[in-house]
Symmetry: C2
Subunit: 106 residues, 2 copies
């Protein structure tokens, strides 16, 4: 998994601006992580909008606070599956998801 590198770099204090296209990521890989980032951002937005704590959302999803934190951080170890399930649990519907997935990052 290439995305590990990215995480490591960020951990080292770099925090790549916007996204990590300068790494050895194929265009597809880059687009994939951008989608994950978009989903992650939307998840946090939706949660805050509902005035939920990470622990509360976790309960609704059937997960844990730490997982939610990682989701919102777009941690490499969280899958799109989990992000999507969480978004649905947070009240998003298919059309919402479609918009999130389809919209270019900022």
């Amino acid at each position: 998994m290439k995305a590990e590198k990215r995480k490591k770099l960020e951990a080292a204090g770099w925090h790549v601006g916007g996204a990590a296209e300068f790494l050895a990521l194929t265009p597809d890989e880059a687009e994939f992580v951008e989608i994950k980032l978009a989903l992650a951002r939307r998840l946090r937005a939706l949660r805050e909008q509902r005035h939920w704590t990470q622990a509360e959302l976790a309960k609704h999803v059937g997960s844990s606070q730490s997982r939610v934190a990682k989701m919102e951080a777009a941690d490499p170890t969280v899958s799109v599956d989990l992000l999507v399930r969480s978004l649905l649990a947070a009240g998003a519907n298919r059309r919402d998801l479609g918009r999130v997935v389809g919209a270019k990052t900022r």
Copy 2:
């Protein structure tokens, strides 16, 4: 995993019309499998459009023919992650994916 039930029923010759809302699926779960189905259909469409065999697509994705078959069958053991990656490998972009995810099934 609830979706297992569905698979079993289909295997038993039922092949639920459209999707399996009559099972003990929460609305969220139902929406989730519908999204997977939509992605699966689009993957097959895209592949055929390119006149690729499942084995060829597998090569581009870095997977195997059997996995591709399962993807297109929306087998419970394939993740959205893999579907999305495969779609990207098949030439879809974010906007395409957004449409697929957002569009109500048929």
